[in-house]
């Protein structure tokens, strides 16, 4: 049975890679510059923030929940940390990143507490906090904007810098993905997230601390979004209260396109990150192919629907196969 599940997962990630290859190929045929070093680097850089957010979102979705507030958490953290950097330009970069993480984790803890302790569906909670966090961001910003000139050079250097040709942002994202993948795959607390999402009642009976795990998943999602907020400030240099608006849709789409079941219990962070890469590549390809940007949102929505439907079909097939097999064994 695990072999079968493993197979279904592999096929999914293979499918994304195939789609990715196809998009790149078609676009490169129309404009070879699409596969130049600089263009690929830009693509990875554009993907990194969304891919980062998919890591936390994956952990939440695995538990059969959803975190729609990530874009707002990113915005709030971006404005707060950028503001701190303006007042304290001597602040070291790691401390700045840590502040972002703490701000995000606090937001995540509020979401998680409302979901796990208040027993309110995560959709409603995070839809509410999406607006609450964004509103706090606006109230704090008061219409002001922080510009690159106000930010310390060290921060901007981190946002634009590279190590061995790879942008720092991409490296940070890869490290976070690796840590999360290791945790989900190799640690009991990680495996338990899958158990909770597969069957919440069974997870309770199996003695899993469901509330604590769900709370942790939300804190992780918030922390990652907070980290992404600081990185946003470093990357773009300008921050106003609208940073990251609407990002939640891209993140949820990437996660679902990347093969994380919206019903919980199955999926990987690498798949989700590949989903983010595919979505970003498609939107870049649209620009290169001179298709109006207006198509982007419709395509994102259609892809999301297709991924959910595909997910359901695979799950039904799998269930049917498993039933046939178990019947074969008992007969």
């Amino acid at each position: 049975m695990t072999g079968l599940l493993e197979w279904a997962r592999r096929i999914r990630e293979l499918g994304i890679l195939l789609a990715l290859g196809l998009v790149v190929l078609v676009t490169a045929m129309s404009n070879p510059l699409f596969v130049s070093g600089q263009s690929v680097r830009d693509l990875l850089l554009n993907t990194s923030l969304v891919a980062l957010l998919t890591v936390g979102q994956t952990m939440v979705v695995l538990t059969r929940n959803v975190d729609l507030s990530v874009g707002s958490v990113l915005g709030l953290s971006a404005f707060l940390t950028a503001g701190i950097f303006v007042r304290h330009p001597e602040l070291s970069i790691p401390v700045g990143l840590a502040i972002g993480v703490v701000v995000g984790a606090a937001c995540g803890a509020l979401n998680g507490a409302l979901v796990a302790v208040g027993r309110v569906p995560s959709l409603v909670v995070t839809l509410g906090t999406l607006y609450v966090f964004r509103g706090l961001d606006y109230a704090w910003a008061q219409g002001k904007q922080i510009n690159a000139g106000d930010l310390p050079d060290a921060l901007l250097a981190m946002g634009g810098g590279r190590f061995l040709g790879v942008p720092y942002l991409v490296l940070i994202t890869l490290v976070v993905i690796a840590v999360a993948a290791l945790h989900l795959h190799g640690y009991r607390s990680g495996r338990e997230l899958y158990a909770i999402g597969s069957n919440p009642e069974a997870a309770v009976l199996a003695g899993i601390a469901v509330r604590r795990r769900v709370l942790t998943a939300f804190v992780a999602s918030g922390a990652v979004a907070g980290l992404a907020g600081t990185l946003w400030a470093a990357r773009y240099g300008t921050v106003d209260a609208t940073a990251g608006t609407g990002l939640e849709l891209q993140v949820v789409s990437a996660v679902v396109v990347g093969g994380v079941a919206i019903f919980g219990g199955s999926g990987t962070v690498t798949g989700a990150a590949l989903g983010a890469l595919l979505l970003t590549t498609i939107s870049s390809a649209l620009i290169v192919l001179r298709i109006p940007a207006f198509w982007q949102q419709a395509i994102t929505g259609a892809l999301l629907l297709a991924a959910i439907a595909l997910d359901r079909i695979v799950a039904l097939r799998l269930a049917a196969t498993l039933r046939r097999r178990s019947r074969g064994v008992s007969a």
Binding site: L123, V132, G301
Partner: protein
Amino acid sequence: MKAKDFLRWETALFVLLVLIGVVGAARTGGGFLAGQNLFYLGLDIGEIAIMALPLTLVIVAAEIDLSVASVLGLSSALIGALWNAGWALETILPLVLLVGAVCGAFNGVLVTRMGLPSLAVTIGTLALYRGLALIVLGDHAVADFPATYTRFGTTPLPGTPIPYPIALFGVLAVVFGLLLHATAFGRAVFALGANEEAARFSGIRVKRNKEILFVLSGVLSALAGIVYTFRFSSARADNGTGLELAVVAAVLLGGVSIFGGRGTIGGVILAVLVLGALRNVLILADTSTEVLTVVTGLLLLASVLAPAIIQGILNRFKRPIEGAPS
């Protein structure tokens, strides 16, 4: 006990509404209660109120539709694009309502025939329908509509102080109230939300009924799009962006359980008025729109948390029944 609960919730909403009215009138030196202000308040809640009616039924049936504001936007964009193309409004408006029905049916079919969660489906169509709106109209605004159509955004119903959209809402509210509380269909909707399995065994056509609910939601969202377009005399693809929060907030604040099976149209109407009045008072008090958003978000959270907290407190005073599952 259920009836008593509803009564309490609706009474609480009514008291809240009166309180907002009194405080509002006191803080604004009576400006809140001025006819002109109440007229604008009525105009302002029109679309939210219209979309909240079918969404109430959808949520009572334990589903959700987050695509309502995008259908509103698509409907607005279609009006603009077709008007630009030289079509007559008499042709455009029925067509737009039909497109709304198709959008709703698409949601419904994905939910019922493919067994997908409505939350995921309507997050997808929230993006898809808004995207289609952008494809149809791009980022232009169409504003040259005839005064016959745009007038109702500035004038009341002849001989009364009531804005046209509110009159429309009043009629629809009666229709939906009767539909939910006085017909077999309404009872089926409650049954669906309370226990879908049991509803199926008792012969209720689950899929068919849910599809009807999503179609109703689509049609009335398109209608809200028409109202919105002519009220501002501006057809835009981004009209009503984010409005789904206000609609969901109104329904949940109205005492409809997000888990399905419980809720009343009356409660939702009161909640729409509470949210509208609160918004209006805050605007009169020169509060920024950002604070309004925070308040809406907080009210949404409070309205879903309140039942859980009340239940928790009640449980504390209740002796556990032996052998009952906890």
